[in-house]
Protein backbone atom coordinates (compact mmCIF):
# COMPACT_ATOMS: atom_id res chain seq x y z
CA UNK A 1 0.00 0.00 0.00
CA UNK A 2 1.48 3.39 -0.90
CA UNK A 3 1.59 6.46 1.27
CA UNK A 4 -1.34 8.17 -0.40
CA UNK A 5 -3.86 5.38 0.11
CA UNK A 6 -2.66 5.00 3.70
CA UNK A 7 -3.34 8.66 4.32
CA UNK A 8 -6.70 8.41 2.59
CA UNK A 9 -7.61 5.42 4.71
CA UNK A 10 -6.69 7.33 7.84
CA UNK A 11 -9.03 10.19 6.96
CA UNK A 12 -11.86 7.80 6.08
CA UNK A 13 -11.32 5.97 9.34
CA UNK A 14 -11.49 9.09 11.47
CA UNK A 15 -14.74 10.13 9.76
CA UNK A 16 -16.18 6.71 10.48
CA UNK A 17 -15.08 6.76 14.12
CA UNK A 18 -16.73 10.15 14.55
CA UNK A 19 -19.98 8.73 13.15
CA UNK A 20 -19.71 5.71 15.44
CA UNK A 21 -19.22 7.90 18.48
CA UNK A 22 -22.23 9.94 17.40
CA UNK A 23 -24.28 6.74 17.26
CA UNK A 24 -23.05 5.76 20.73
CA UNK A 25 -24.23 9.16 21.97
CA UNK A 26 -27.64 8.59 20.38
CA UNK A 27 -27.82 5.22 22.14
CA UNK A 28 -26.94 6.73 25.49
CA UNK A 29 -28.39 10.24 25.54
CA UNK A 30 -31.94 9.24 26.51
CA UNK A 31 -30.54 7.38 29.51
CA UNK A 32 -28.28 10.27 30.40
CA UNK A 33 -31.21 12.70 30.23
CA UNK A 34 -33.14 10.30 32.45
CA UNK A 35 -30.41 10.28 35.09
CA UNK A 36 -29.93 14.06 35.00
CA UNK A 37 -33.65 14.76 35.21
CA UNK A 38 -34.06 12.21 38.02
CA UNK A 39 -31.92 14.51 40.16
CA UNK A 40 -33.89 17.68 39.33
CA UNK A 41 -37.04 18.99 40.92
CA UNK A 42 -40.27 19.20 38.95
CA UNK A 43 -40.17 23.01 39.07
CA UNK A 44 -36.59 23.07 37.83
CA UNK A 45 -37.46 20.87 34.83
CA UNK A 46 -40.56 22.92 34.01
CA UNK A 47 -38.82 26.28 34.34
CA UNK A 48 -35.34 25.66 33.00
CA UNK A 49 -35.87 22.92 30.45
CA UNK A 50 -32.90 21.13 29.02
CA UNK A 51 -29.58 20.82 30.82
CA UNK A 52 -26.78 18.27 31.03
CA UNK A 53 -25.92 19.20 34.63
CA UNK A 54 -27.50 17.15 37.46
CA UNK A 55 -29.57 18.87 40.19
CA UNK A 56 -29.93 18.17 43.90
CA UNK A 57 -33.52 17.01 44.25
CA UNK A 58 -32.92 13.29 44.05
CA UNK A 59 -33.89 12.57 47.68
CA UNK A 60 -37.11 14.60 47.40
CA UNK A 61 -37.98 12.81 44.18
CA UNK A 62 -37.31 9.48 45.84
CA UNK A 63 -39.65 10.31 48.70
CA UNK A 64 -42.42 11.45 46.35
CA UNK A 65 -42.02 8.28 44.33
CA UNK A 66 -42.09 5.90 47.29
CA UNK A 67 -45.20 7.57 48.69
CA UNK A 68 -47.15 6.17 45.77
CA UNK A 69 -45.34 3.07 44.70
CA UNK A 70 -42.73 0.72 46.01
CA UNK A 71 -40.75 0.13 42.87
CA UNK A 72 -38.27 -2.05 44.72
CA UNK A 73 -41.10 -4.45 45.39
CA UNK A 74 -41.75 -4.67 41.65
CA UNK A 75 -38.05 -5.14 41.15
CA UNK A 76 -37.97 -8.04 43.61
CA UNK A 77 -41.09 -9.58 42.04
CA UNK A 78 -39.60 -9.41 38.56
CA UNK A 79 -36.37 -10.94 39.84
CA UNK A 80 -38.18 -13.85 41.54
CA UNK A 81 -40.27 -14.57 38.46
CA UNK A 82 -37.34 -14.26 36.04
CA UNK A 83 -35.08 -16.50 38.14
CA UNK A 84 -37.77 -19.16 38.50
CA UNK A 85 -38.48 -19.03 34.77
CA UNK A 86 -34.77 -19.32 33.95
CA UNK A 87 -34.18 -22.31 36.25
CA UNK A 88 -37.32 -24.19 35.24
CA UNK A 89 -37.00 -23.63 31.51
CA UNK A 90 -33.29 -24.53 31.55
CA UNK A 91 -33.74 -27.73 33.54
CA UNK A 92 -36.79 -29.08 31.74
CA UNK A 93 -35.56 -28.08 28.29
CA UNK A 94 -32.31 -29.93 28.96
CA UNK A 95 -34.31 -32.96 30.14
CA UNK A 96 -36.47 -32.90 27.01
CA UNK A 97 -33.56 -32.37 24.63
CA UNK A 98 -31.69 -35.24 26.30
CA UNK A 99 -34.74 -37.48 25.97
CA UNK A 100 -35.00 -36.74 22.26
CA UNK A 101 -31.28 -37.18 21.55
CA UNK A 102 -30.41 -40.26 23.60
CA UNK A 103 -33.44 -42.52 23.28
CA UNK A 104 -35.08 -43.95 20.20
CA UNK A 105 -38.78 -44.31 20.84
CA UNK A 106 -41.94 -44.50 18.80
CA UNK A 107 -43.35 -41.13 17.81
CA UNK A 108 -40.25 -39.15 18.75
CA UNK A 109 -39.92 -37.70 15.26
CA UNK A 110 -43.57 -36.72 15.14
CA UNK A 111 -43.36 -35.04 18.56
CA UNK A 112 -40.22 -33.15 17.65
CA UNK A 113 -41.72 -31.90 14.41
CA UNK A 114 -44.74 -30.73 16.42
CA UNK A 115 -42.37 -28.67 18.55
CA UNK A 116 -40.74 -27.20 15.43
CA UNK A 117 -44.07 -26.21 13.89
CA UNK A 118 -45.43 -24.64 17.06
CA UNK A 119 -42.16 -22.75 17.52
CA UNK A 120 -43.34 -20.54 14.66
CA UNK A 121 -46.71 -19.74 16.23
CA UNK A 122 -46.83 -16.24 17.72
CA UNK A 123 -47.28 -16.19 21.48
CA UNK A 124 -50.45 -14.08 21.38
CA UNK A 125 -52.46 -16.69 19.47
CA UNK A 126 -53.70 -18.58 22.53
CA UNK A 127 -53.91 -15.61 24.89
CA UNK A 128 -57.70 -15.60 25.25
CA UNK A 129 -57.87 -19.34 25.89
CA UNK A 130 -54.89 -19.13 28.23
CA UNK A 131 -56.55 -16.44 30.33
CA UNK A 132 -59.77 -18.44 30.48
CA UNK A 133 -57.99 -21.63 31.57
CA UNK A 134 -56.02 -19.79 34.24
CA UNK A 135 -59.28 -18.39 35.59
CA UNK A 136 -60.87 -21.84 35.65
CA UNK A 137 -57.89 -23.23 37.57
CA UNK A 138 -57.90 -20.25 39.94
CA UNK A 139 -54.37 -19.31 38.89
CA UNK A 140 -55.15 -15.65 38.16
CA UNK A 141 -53.28 -13.14 40.32
CA UNK A 142 -50.59 -15.74 41.07
CA UNK A 143 -47.19 -16.27 39.46
CA UNK A 144 -48.14 -19.72 38.16
CA UNK A 145 -49.19 -18.45 34.67
CA UNK A 146 -45.83 -16.67 34.41
CA UNK A 147 -43.54 -19.36 35.82
CA UNK A 148 -44.98 -22.73 34.75
CA UNK A 149 -45.52 -22.37 30.95
CA UNK A 150 -41.78 -21.71 30.28
CA UNK A 151 -41.16 -25.35 31.33
CA UNK A 152 -42.19 -26.01 27.73
CA UNK A 153 -39.83 -23.63 25.87
CA UNK A 154 -39.85 -24.88 22.31
CA UNK A 155 -36.91 -22.85 21.04
CA UNK A 156 -34.69 -23.83 23.98
CA UNK A 157 -35.42 -27.53 23.42
CA UNK A 158 -34.67 -27.13 19.72
CA UNK A 159 -31.42 -25.29 20.41
CA UNK A 160 -30.23 -27.76 23.07
CA UNK A 161 -31.03 -30.74 20.89
CA UNK A 162 -29.05 -29.28 18.00
CA UNK A 163 -26.18 -28.71 20.40
CA UNK A 164 -26.35 -32.23 21.86
CA UNK A 165 -26.29 -33.86 18.44
CA UNK A 166 -22.85 -32.35 17.87
CA UNK A 167 -21.27 -33.10 21.28
CA UNK A 168 -22.92 -36.30 22.52
CA UNK A 169 -21.11 -39.62 22.09
CA UNK A 170 -23.13 -42.75 22.73
CA UNK A 171 -19.99 -44.58 23.96
CA UNK A 172 -19.86 -42.25 26.96
CA UNK A 173 -23.41 -43.13 27.94
CA UNK A 174 -22.83 -46.83 27.32
CA UNK A 175 -19.81 -46.75 29.60
CA UNK A 176 -21.82 -45.10 32.38
CA UNK A 177 -24.55 -47.73 31.98
CA UNK A 178 -22.04 -50.58 32.27
CA UNK A 179 -20.87 -48.96 35.50
CA UNK A 180 -24.47 -49.30 36.68
CA UNK A 181 -25.49 -45.64 36.56
CA UNK A 182 -29.24 -44.91 36.49
CA UNK A 183 -30.58 -43.00 33.48
CA UNK A 184 -31.34 -39.91 35.57
CA UNK A 185 -27.86 -40.03 37.07
CA UNK A 186 -26.44 -40.14 33.56
CA UNK A 187 -28.52 -37.09 32.64
CA UNK A 188 -27.39 -35.13 35.70
CA UNK A 189 -23.75 -36.21 35.73
CA UNK A 190 -23.02 -36.38 32.00
CA UNK A 191 -25.84 -34.73 30.05
CA UNK A 192 -26.17 -31.47 31.98
CA UNK A 193 -22.42 -30.67 32.18
CA UNK A 194 -22.12 -31.45 28.48
CA UNK A 195 -24.97 -29.09 27.57
CA UNK A 196 -23.87 -26.37 29.99
CA UNK A 197 -22.53 -23.87 27.39
CA UNK A 198 -25.78 -24.09 25.42
CA UNK A 199 -27.90 -24.03 28.57
CA UNK A 200 -26.28 -20.81 29.77
CA UNK A 201 -26.81 -19.24 26.34
CA UNK A 202 -30.52 -20.03 26.50
CA UNK A 203 -30.72 -19.09 30.20
CA UNK A 204 -29.75 -15.53 29.31
CA UNK A 205 -32.56 -15.38 26.74
CA UNK A 206 -35.09 -16.81 29.19
CA UNK A 207 -34.12 -14.31 31.83
CA UNK A 208 -34.28 -11.28 29.51
CA UNK A 209 -37.54 -12.52 28.01
CA UNK A 210 -39.20 -12.92 31.37
CA UNK A 211 -37.79 -9.68 32.72
CA UNK A 212 -39.20 -7.68 29.80
CA UNK A 213 -42.51 -9.51 29.49
CA UNK A 214 -45.35 -7.01 29.74
CA UNK A 215 -48.60 -8.26 28.24
CA UNK A 216 -48.82 -11.54 30.17
CA UNK A 217 -48.32 -10.18 33.71
CA UNK A 218 -50.57 -7.25 32.73
CA UNK A 219 -53.36 -9.68 31.91
CA UNK A 220 -53.00 -12.14 34.81
CA UNK A 221 -51.92 -9.99 37.78
CA UNK A 222 -54.35 -7.70 39.62
CA UNK A 223 -52.84 -6.95 43.03
CA UNK A 224 -50.39 -4.03 42.90
CA UNK A 225 -48.09 -5.73 45.43
CA UNK A 226 -47.70 -8.64 43.01
CA UNK A 227 -46.94 -6.49 39.95
CA UNK A 228 -43.75 -7.16 38.08
CA UNK A 229 -41.61 -4.17 37.21
CA UNK A 230 -42.97 -3.53 33.69
CA UNK A 231 -46.57 -3.60 34.94
CA UNK A 232 -45.63 -1.33 37.82
CA UNK A 233 -44.03 1.08 35.34
CA UNK A 234 -47.27 1.09 33.39
CA UNK A 235 -49.22 1.83 36.57
CA UNK A 236 -46.77 4.62 37.42
CA UNK A 237 -47.75 6.38 34.23
CA UNK A 238 -51.37 6.65 35.30
CA UNK A 239 -50.59 7.56 38.92
CA UNK A 240 -50.14 10.94 40.58
CA UNK A 241 -46.38 10.57 40.30
CA UNK A 242 -46.80 11.45 36.62
CA UNK A 243 -47.46 15.04 37.75
CA UNK A 244 -43.92 15.24 39.12
CA UNK A 245 -41.49 14.86 36.23
CA UNK A 246 -38.41 14.53 38.46
CA UNK A 247 -39.96 11.68 40.45
CA UNK A 248 -41.16 10.09 37.23
CA UNK A 249 -37.65 10.14 35.74
CA UNK A 250 -36.30 8.69 38.97
CA UNK A 251 -38.83 5.85 38.84
CA UNK A 252 -37.76 5.01 35.31
CA UNK A 253 -34.09 5.27 36.33
CA UNK A 254 -34.64 2.78 39.16
CA UNK A 255 -36.03 0.31 36.67
CA UNK A 256 -33.20 0.87 34.21
CA UNK A 257 -29.92 1.49 36.05
CA UNK A 258 -29.49 -1.93 37.73
CA UNK A 259 -29.95 -3.65 34.36
CA UNK A 260 -27.45 -1.29 32.76
CA UNK A 261 -24.97 -2.06 35.53
CA UNK A 262 -25.46 -5.81 35.16
CA UNK A 263 -25.00 -5.43 31.42
CA UNK A 264 -21.59 -3.79 31.84
CA UNK A 265 -20.35 -6.96 33.54
CA UNK A 266 -22.24 -9.45 31.40
CA UNK A 267 -22.19 -7.84 27.95
CA UNK A 268 -19.62 -10.33 26.61
CA UNK A 269 -21.79 -13.33 27.49
CA UNK A 270 -25.01 -11.72 26.36
CA UNK A 271 -23.63 -10.70 22.98
CA UNK A 272 -22.03 -14.07 22.28
CA UNK A 273 -25.35 -15.69 23.21
CA UNK A 274 -27.21 -13.61 20.65
CA UNK A 275 -24.61 -14.45 18.02
CA UNK A 276 -24.79 -18.17 18.85
CA UNK A 277 -28.59 -18.15 18.84
CA UNK A 278 -28.72 -16.66 15.35
CA UNK A 279 -25.98 -18.67 13.69
CA UNK A 280 -27.26 -21.99 15.06
CA UNK A 281 -30.59 -21.50 13.29
Amino acid sequence: MNEQTKKKNKIIKSIFYTLLVLLVIISFIPFYMMIVNATRSNADILRNGFTLIPGQAIVDNYNVLLEYMNLWRGFANSLIVALAVTVLSSYFSALTAFGFSVYKFKGSNFLFVTILVLMMVPGQLGLIGFYDIMRTFGFLDTYIPLIVPPIASTFTVFFLRQFLSSVLHSSLIEAARIDGAHEFTIFHKIGVPMMMPAISTMAIFSFIGSWNNYILPLVVLFSPEKYTLPVMMGALRGSQVAQNLGAMYLGIAISVVPIMTAFIFLSKYIISSISAGAVKE
Binding site: F50, F105, V279
Partner: protein, 297 residues
Protein backbone atom coordinates in the same frame (compact mmCIF):
# COMPACT_ATOMS: atom_id res chain seq x y z
CA UNK B 1 -30.22 -53.25 27.08
CA UNK B 2 -30.60 -50.12 24.98
CA UNK B 3 -34.06 -51.06 23.68
CA UNK B 4 -35.36 -51.60 27.20
CA UNK B 5 -34.02 -48.26 28.31
CA UNK B 6 -35.62 -46.44 25.39
CA UNK B 7 -38.84 -46.12 27.34
CA UNK B 8 -36.99 -43.52 29.40
CA UNK B 9 -37.35 -41.27 26.40
CA UNK B 10 -41.01 -40.86 27.27
CA UNK B 11 -40.18 -40.18 30.91
CA UNK B 12 -37.71 -37.47 29.95
CA UNK B 13 -40.02 -35.63 27.60
CA UNK B 14 -43.18 -36.12 29.65
CA UNK B 15 -43.00 -32.95 31.83
CA UNK B 16 -42.47 -30.83 28.73
CA UNK B 17 -45.47 -32.26 26.92
CA UNK B 18 -47.78 -32.08 29.94
CA UNK B 19 -47.03 -28.37 30.32
CA UNK B 20 -47.01 -27.84 26.56
CA UNK B 21 -50.42 -29.46 26.14
CA UNK B 22 -51.96 -27.61 29.09
CA UNK B 23 -50.51 -24.15 28.68
CA UNK B 24 -49.85 -23.85 24.95
CA UNK B 25 -51.83 -26.29 22.80
CA UNK B 26 -55.07 -26.34 24.78
CA UNK B 27 -55.26 -22.51 24.96
CA UNK B 28 -54.71 -22.32 21.19
CA UNK B 29 -57.53 -24.80 20.56
CA UNK B 30 -59.80 -23.13 23.10
CA UNK B 31 -59.13 -19.73 21.50
CA UNK B 32 -60.04 -21.22 18.14
CA UNK B 33 -63.32 -22.50 19.58
CA UNK B 34 -64.11 -19.16 21.21
CA UNK B 35 -63.53 -17.40 17.90
CA UNK B 36 -66.81 -19.00 16.73
CA UNK B 37 -68.77 -17.87 19.78
CA UNK B 38 -70.01 -14.66 21.34
CA UNK B 39 -68.22 -15.50 24.61
CA UNK B 40 -68.05 -12.52 26.95
CA UNK B 41 -65.91 -14.09 29.65
CA UNK B 42 -68.85 -15.17 31.77
CA UNK B 43 -71.56 -17.76 31.38
CA UNK B 44 -72.02 -19.88 28.31
CA UNK B 45 -70.33 -19.25 25.00
CA UNK B 46 -73.06 -19.11 22.34
CA UNK B 47 -72.00 -20.57 19.01
CA UNK B 48 -72.37 -18.03 16.23
CA UNK B 49 -70.51 -19.65 13.34
CA UNK B 50 -68.38 -17.36 11.20
CA UNK B 51 -69.97 -14.13 12.44
CA UNK B 52 -66.81 -12.95 14.21
CA UNK B 53 -64.71 -13.55 11.11
CA UNK B 54 -67.24 -11.81 8.90
CA UNK B 55 -67.15 -8.85 11.25
CA UNK B 56 -63.34 -8.94 11.21
CA UNK B 57 -63.22 -8.70 7.42
CA UNK B 58 -65.30 -5.54 7.41
CA UNK B 59 -64.08 -4.02 10.69
CA UNK B 60 -62.40 -0.76 9.72
CA UNK B 61 -60.75 -0.55 13.16
CA UNK B 62 -59.03 -3.87 12.61
CA UNK B 63 -57.79 -2.95 9.13
CA UNK B 64 -56.64 0.39 10.41
CA UNK B 65 -54.76 -1.48 13.15
CA UNK B 66 -53.29 -3.72 10.46
CA UNK B 67 -52.19 -0.69 8.46
CA UNK B 68 -50.68 0.98 11.53
CA UNK B 69 -48.81 -2.17 12.52
CA UNK B 70 -47.28 -2.59 9.06
CA UNK B 71 -46.55 1.14 8.74
CA UNK B 72 -44.73 1.21 12.09
CA UNK B 73 -42.87 -2.03 11.44
CA UNK B 74 -41.84 -0.96 7.94
CA UNK B 75 -40.20 2.28 9.04
CA UNK B 76 -38.71 0.60 12.08
CA UNK B 77 -37.21 -2.24 10.06
CA UNK B 78 -35.92 0.03 7.30
CA UNK B 79 -33.93 2.13 9.72
CA UNK B 80 -32.92 -0.79 11.88
CA UNK B 81 -31.57 -2.86 9.01
CA UNK B 82 -30.08 0.13 7.20
CA UNK B 83 -28.02 1.23 10.17
CA UNK B 84 -27.05 -2.34 11.08
CA UNK B 85 -25.94 -3.08 7.51
CA UNK B 86 -23.85 0.10 7.28
CA UNK B 87 -22.18 -0.81 10.56
CA UNK B 88 -21.60 -4.36 9.34
CA UNK B 89 -20.02 -3.10 6.08
CA UNK B 90 -17.76 -0.87 8.11
CA UNK B 91 -16.59 -3.49 10.59
CA UNK B 92 -16.16 -6.28 8.04
CA UNK B 93 -13.94 -4.17 5.76
CA UNK B 94 -10.55 -5.86 5.80
CA UNK B 95 -8.76 -2.79 4.47
CA UNK B 96 -9.99 -0.50 7.21
CA UNK B 97 -9.55 -2.94 10.11
CA UNK B 98 -11.83 -0.92 12.41
CA UNK B 99 -11.11 -1.40 16.11
CA UNK B 100 -13.41 -1.50 19.13
CA UNK B 101 -16.02 -3.87 17.72
CA UNK B 102 -16.86 -5.40 21.10
CA UNK B 103 -17.29 -1.98 22.70
CA UNK B 104 -19.52 -0.63 19.93
CA UNK B 105 -21.58 -3.81 19.79
CA UNK B 106 -22.25 -3.59 23.50
CA UNK B 107 -23.04 0.14 23.38
CA UNK B 108 -25.47 -0.22 20.48
CA UNK B 109 -27.13 -3.23 22.05
CA UNK B 110 -27.85 -1.58 25.39
CA UNK B 111 -31.25 -0.02 24.52
CA UNK B 112 -32.55 -3.47 23.60
CA UNK B 113 -31.99 -4.81 27.09
CA UNK B 114 -34.11 -2.20 28.83
CA UNK B 115 -37.68 -3.16 29.64
CA UNK B 116 -39.90 -1.76 26.89
CA UNK B 117 -42.26 -0.39 29.54
CA UNK B 118 -39.43 1.78 30.89
CA UNK B 119 -38.40 2.83 27.39
CA UNK B 120 -42.00 3.80 26.61
CA UNK B 121 -42.33 5.84 29.80
CA UNK B 122 -38.98 7.50 29.22
CA UNK B 123 -39.80 8.54 25.67
CA UNK B 124 -43.30 9.44 26.76
CA UNK B 125 -41.88 12.27 28.83
CA UNK B 126 -38.89 13.03 26.64
CA UNK B 127 -41.38 13.58 23.79
CA UNK B 128 -43.73 15.63 26.00
CA UNK B 129 -45.36 18.68 24.46
CA UNK B 130 -44.48 21.73 26.54
CA UNK B 131 -41.94 20.23 28.92
CA UNK B 132 -40.41 17.41 26.93
CA UNK B 133 -36.64 17.35 26.66
CA UNK B 134 -36.65 16.75 22.92
CA UNK B 135 -38.71 19.87 22.27
CA UNK B 136 -36.49 21.81 24.69
CA UNK B 137 -33.38 20.78 22.75
CA UNK B 138 -34.91 21.54 19.34
CA UNK B 139 -36.13 24.94 20.59
CA UNK B 140 -32.71 25.76 22.09
CA UNK B 141 -31.01 24.87 18.82
CA UNK B 142 -33.53 26.96 16.89
CA UNK B 143 -34.74 24.08 14.70
CA UNK B 144 -38.35 24.75 15.69
CA UNK B 145 -40.07 27.85 16.98
CA UNK B 146 -43.09 26.13 18.53
CA UNK B 147 -43.04 22.94 20.61
CA UNK B 148 -44.32 19.97 18.62
CA UNK B 149 -46.94 17.70 20.16
CA UNK B 150 -45.22 14.57 18.88
CA UNK B 151 -47.56 12.00 20.33
CA UNK B 152 -50.74 13.85 19.40
CA UNK B 153 -50.35 13.90 15.64
CA UNK B 154 -50.92 10.63 13.75
CA UNK B 155 -47.85 10.93 11.53
CA UNK B 156 -45.36 12.04 14.17
CA UNK B 157 -46.81 9.54 16.64
CA UNK B 158 -46.31 6.62 14.26
CA UNK B 159 -42.83 7.80 13.30
CA UNK B 160 -41.93 8.21 16.97
CA UNK B 161 -42.91 4.64 17.79
CA UNK B 162 -41.13 3.31 14.70
CA UNK B 163 -37.93 5.20 15.41
CA UNK B 164 -37.93 4.20 19.09
CA UNK B 165 -38.23 0.63 17.83
CA UNK B 166 -35.32 1.12 15.44
CA UNK B 167 -33.28 2.69 18.24
CA UNK B 168 -33.97 -0.36 20.40
CA UNK B 169 -33.23 -2.98 17.76
CA UNK B 170 -30.44 -1.83 15.42
CA UNK B 171 -27.75 -3.02 17.84
CA UNK B 172 -29.34 -6.44 18.07
CA UNK B 173 -29.54 -6.74 14.29
CA UNK B 174 -25.95 -5.52 13.97
CA UNK B 175 -24.75 -8.27 16.36
CA UNK B 176 -26.56 -10.93 14.35
CA UNK B 177 -25.19 -9.64 11.02
CA UNK B 178 -21.67 -9.58 12.45
CA UNK B 179 -22.11 -13.15 13.70
CA UNK B 180 -23.05 -14.14 10.17
CA UNK B 181 -20.11 -12.25 8.67
CA UNK B 182 -17.62 -13.84 11.07
CA UNK B 183 -18.72 -17.19 9.66
CA UNK B 184 -17.54 -16.16 6.16
CA UNK B 185 -14.05 -17.39 5.37
CA UNK B 186 -11.45 -14.62 5.17
CA UNK B 187 -10.02 -16.29 2.05
CA UNK B 188 -12.80 -14.79 -0.07
CA UNK B 189 -11.93 -11.28 1.02
CA UNK B 190 -8.17 -11.84 0.68
CA UNK B 191 -8.67 -13.15 -2.85
CA UNK B 192 -10.94 -10.24 -3.75
CA UNK B 193 -8.39 -7.82 -2.33
CA UNK B 194 -5.65 -9.29 -4.53
CA UNK B 195 -7.97 -8.99 -7.53
CA UNK B 196 -8.36 -5.34 -6.66
CA UNK B 197 -12.06 -5.42 -5.78
CA UNK B 198 -13.48 -2.24 -4.32
CA UNK B 199 -15.05 -1.98 -0.89
CA UNK B 200 -18.58 -1.93 -2.26
CA UNK B 201 -17.91 -4.73 -4.74
CA UNK B 202 -16.71 -6.96 -1.92
CA UNK B 203 -19.77 -6.20 0.10
CA UNK B 204 -22.30 -6.75 -2.64
CA UNK B 205 -20.57 -9.71 -4.32
CA UNK B 206 -19.30 -11.63 -1.30
CA UNK B 207 -20.76 -10.53 2.01
CA UNK B 208 -24.36 -9.93 1.04
CA UNK B 209 -25.00 -13.17 -0.91
CA UNK B 210 -23.39 -15.29 1.83
CA UNK B 211 -25.38 -13.42 4.44
CA UNK B 212 -28.74 -14.37 2.92
CA UNK B 213 -29.74 -17.06 5.47
CA UNK B 214 -28.97 -14.68 8.33
CA UNK B 215 -30.88 -11.87 6.63
CA UNK B 216 -33.86 -14.17 6.29
CA UNK B 217 -33.63 -14.95 10.01
CA UNK B 218 -33.48 -11.24 10.87
CA UNK B 219 -36.38 -10.43 8.56
CA UNK B 220 -38.67 -13.23 9.76
CA UNK B 221 -38.02 -12.74 13.48
CA UNK B 222 -38.40 -8.98 13.16
CA UNK B 223 -41.60 -9.37 11.16
CA UNK B 224 -43.20 -11.80 13.59
CA UNK B 225 -42.18 -9.59 16.51
CA UNK B 226 -43.24 -6.44 14.67
CA UNK B 227 -46.71 -7.75 13.87
CA UNK B 228 -47.21 -8.30 17.60
CA UNK B 229 -46.12 -4.82 18.70
CA UNK B 230 -48.02 -3.91 21.84
CA UNK B 231 -45.95 -2.47 24.70
CA UNK B 232 -44.86 0.78 23.05
CA UNK B 233 -48.24 1.87 21.61
CA UNK B 234 -50.03 0.75 24.77
CA UNK B 235 -47.82 2.81 27.06
CA UNK B 236 -47.25 5.79 24.80
CA UNK B 237 -50.99 6.39 24.42
CA UNK B 238 -54.01 6.20 26.68
CA UNK B 239 -53.94 2.45 26.01
CA UNK B 240 -56.41 2.73 23.15
CA UNK B 241 -54.11 3.81 20.39
CA UNK B 242 -54.90 7.53 20.23
CA UNK B 243 -54.25 9.99 18.51
CA UNK B 244 -57.06 9.24 16.07
CA UNK B 245 -56.32 5.54 16.42
CA UNK B 246 -52.97 5.98 14.67
CA UNK B 247 -51.16 3.82 17.22
CA UNK B 248 -53.87 1.20 17.45
CA UNK B 249 -51.99 -1.97 16.53
CA UNK B 250 -53.49 -5.43 16.02
CA UNK B 251 -52.45 -6.83 19.39
CA UNK B 252 -53.51 -3.64 21.15
CA UNK B 253 -56.91 -3.98 19.50
CA UNK B 254 -57.05 -7.62 20.57
CA UNK B 255 -56.15 -6.69 24.14
CA UNK B 256 -58.78 -3.96 24.32
CA UNK B 257 -61.51 -6.13 22.80
CA UNK B 258 -60.78 -8.90 25.31
CA UNK B 259 -59.84 -7.20 28.53
CA UNK B 260 -61.47 -3.79 28.27
CA UNK B 261 -64.83 -4.55 26.69
CA UNK B 262 -65.04 -8.32 27.44
CA UNK B 263 -65.51 -9.28 23.81
CA UNK B 264 -63.59 -12.54 24.18
CA UNK B 265 -65.15 -14.25 21.18
CA UNK B 266 -64.27 -11.40 18.84
CA UNK B 267 -60.80 -11.01 20.37
CA UNK B 268 -60.19 -14.71 19.69
CA UNK B 269 -61.10 -14.11 16.03
CA UNK B 270 -58.65 -11.18 15.96
CA UNK B 271 -55.94 -13.51 17.32
CA UNK B 272 -56.57 -15.93 14.47
CA UNK B 273 -56.74 -13.12 11.93
CA UNK B 274 -53.34 -11.95 13.16
CA UNK B 275 -52.07 -15.52 12.94
CA UNK B 276 -53.19 -15.91 9.33
CA UNK B 277 -51.62 -12.58 8.42
CA UNK B 278 -48.36 -13.62 10.10
CA UNK B 279 -48.26 -16.93 8.24
CA UNK B 280 -48.97 -15.21 4.89
CA UNK B 281 -46.26 -12.60 5.39
CA UNK B 282 -43.72 -15.23 6.48
CA UNK B 283 -44.47 -17.38 3.43
CA UNK B 284 -44.19 -14.42 1.08
CA UNK B 285 -40.85 -13.51 2.64
CA UNK B 286 -39.53 -17.07 2.33
CA UNK B 287 -40.68 -17.26 -1.29
CA UNK B 288 -39.22 -13.89 -2.25
CA UNK B 289 -35.85 -14.59 -0.65
CA UNK B 290 -35.71 -18.08 -2.17
CA UNK B 291 -36.52 -16.95 -5.69
CA UNK B 292 -33.92 -14.23 -5.51
CA UNK B 293 -31.21 -16.63 -4.40
CA UNK B 294 -32.04 -18.99 -7.26
CA UNK B 295 -31.81 -16.14 -9.76
CA UNK B 296 -28.56 -14.95 -8.28
CA UNK B 297 -26.84 -18.30 -8.70
Amino acid sequence: MQSKLNKYGYVFILPFFIVFATFTIYPIILTFYYSFTSYSGFGDAAFIGFDNYQRLLTDSYFWEAFYNTIYIWGINFGFQLGIALLLAILFSDIRLKMKGLSFFRAAFYLPNLITIASVALLFGILLGWHHGTINHILLDLGFISEPINWLNNPTTARWSVALIGAWMWFGHTFIILMAGISGISNDYFEAALIDGASRLQMFFKITLPLLKPIMLYVLITSLIGGLQIFDLPMLLTDGRGAPQGSLNTMVLYLYNQAFRVNNYGYAAAIAYGLFIITVCFSLITFKAMYRKSVKGE
